[in-house]
């Protein structure tokens, strides 16, 4: 369960990126966060992964109040939260396999476990045969699937994806969304920030709409119109 309690986030004095947002996301949910560019979607996700701190309010994740999380505690939080970005953020000099292994290794996973787990995850994202390819040799959709695979390396309870289809064509976008649904079915809470209305409408899952930093609608099986 992720709880936002009266969250405000002010970057600079003139405007608030988020304003008085309250929200509850039960474990296992699939939530799309939609809204125009600048509405505050990324900010919301960054607050969850403690890349940013709220200016006001309280954030609780699975009973853990992370509002004033200490720096040394952040790694513990991040290992429970997989993150995926529009620009993939893969290491160009490492293969698909190595990119995933790197994430596990820096988290301290034993080499044996890394060797056993990475092929598993690659299979999960349907890229087992591309294990030794470098990011340059992969399509956008494949890159994003590797990025998702990396996010899954720790078996996180939560996966946050910030415009994961932003750089992809419709076909590849749909691939990614299918993958996110699959991951959600395996029990992971998925938060998807997007402004792709086609995807949102096809998903038929919970939709939270942000506008100017405020929640303007929160529907169980929502739609989104630009």
């Amino acid at each position: 369960m992720i709880t936002f309690n009266k969250i405000s986030k002010v970057y600079s004095k003139e405007s608030a990126a988020l304003h008085d947002v309250s929200l509850k996301i039960p474990t296992g949910d699939f939530v799309s966060i939609v809204g125009q560019s600048g509405a505050g979607k990324s900010t919301m996700l960054k607050l969850i992964s403690a890349q940013e701190r709220p200016s006001e309010g309280m954030i609780v994740i699975d009973g853990w109040d992370i509002t004033k999380i200490r720096r040394w505690q952040i790694p513990h939080l991040r290992r429970q939260i997989g993150v995926v970005f529009q620009d993939f953020k893969l290491l160009p000099k490492r293969t698909a396999f190595e990119n995933i292994a790197f994430a596990m290794e820096v988290g301290g996973a034993p080499t044996r476990e890394v060797r056993a787990t990475v092929p598993h995850i690659l299979k999960l994202v349907n890229l087992a045969e591309r294990a030794n390819a470098y990011p340059d040799e992969l399509s956008g959709g494949e890159k994003q699937r590797i990025a998702i695979a990396r996010a899954l390396a720790y078996k996180p309870q939560i996966l946050i994806a910030d415009e994961p289809t932003g750089n992809l064509d419709a076909l590849h976008s749909w691939d990614i969304v299918q993958l996110l649904i699959k991951i959600n079915k395996l029990g992971t809470t998925v938060l998807l920030a997007t402004h792709n209305d086609e995807i949102v409408n096809a998903l038929k899952k919970r939709v939270v709409t942000l506008n100017d930093g405020k929640v303007v609608s929160d529907k169980k099986s929502g739609t989104y119109k630009l």
Binding site: R78, K89, A103, V106, A151
Partner: protein, 310 residues
Amino acid sequence: MIGVSFFRILRAAGNNFLRNVWLSIATTVIMTITLLIVMFLFFANVFGLEVINNIQQKIDLSATFMTEASEEQMSKVVRNMEQRPDVRAVQFVSSDEALKIFRERNIDKPYIEESLAELGKNPLPASMFIVATAPEYYEDIARYLGDDQFGEVIEEVSYEDSRDMIQRLISIISTIKNAGFIITIVFAGLVILIMFNTVRLAIYSFREEIDIMHLVGASRWFIRGPFVIESMLVAILSVIITTGIIYPLLNGIAPELQRYFLEGYAQQEGFNIYAYAVQEWPTVLGLQLAVALGLAIISSLIAIQRYLNS
């Protein structure tokens, strides 16, 4: 798990070193020079004190007795001297003993024996050697012995005033120390500056990895460790190189130093700076490690603090 992490951090540190290999080499060279200066100061200090100590031991005051002086007169003077609070020890050498010592010393020179035989009697006077409790008392003691009251007993008082020389030595040593200290500080600053930039460059060339490490929840130690350890590797490498330079060097110059500065002073086994360095290796190594690791850790932590906290 800690073992695995440590090995990975070590590997990452090695990668850092190689990725900016020229900068790493430059850092190692400057660090080595700094350590050499520190070592020079250390050994100059040890050696200087040893030289002073030797000269101090060597200051002695001796008085030769008149050939006519009786045993009684002489032992009275000796006792008189022994009672003085500024006198630590008095050694009386009778004229027979003096001859014996003289013969022993010149055992390899047959002509000495011949001329002694020709002379028919012992030409050597009895004498006494006086050791004062502190160097500054010698003058007083010498003046006292030169007094008229001993005129019939004491032939000659001789003492060499080495206080000037000691004073000069002490001031030379302290000059070396001060200059060395300043040079050390300059070089230490240089080490910190260069190392700081090495680490900064390493952080820069690993920024993508670091970003991802942050995102996937790598521990702070795992992110910082390689940069600190890379600096420590440079430090240890410098210590190894420095040690590899100083020991053969000391071994080479020790006999020269001994001949030049300590010849004639040392009564027993002479002071050998190389032997000292071998015997005191924990101090020598410890001092180097403390300086090298200290500089490495300080500079890398500053760089990390500045460039790795976002």
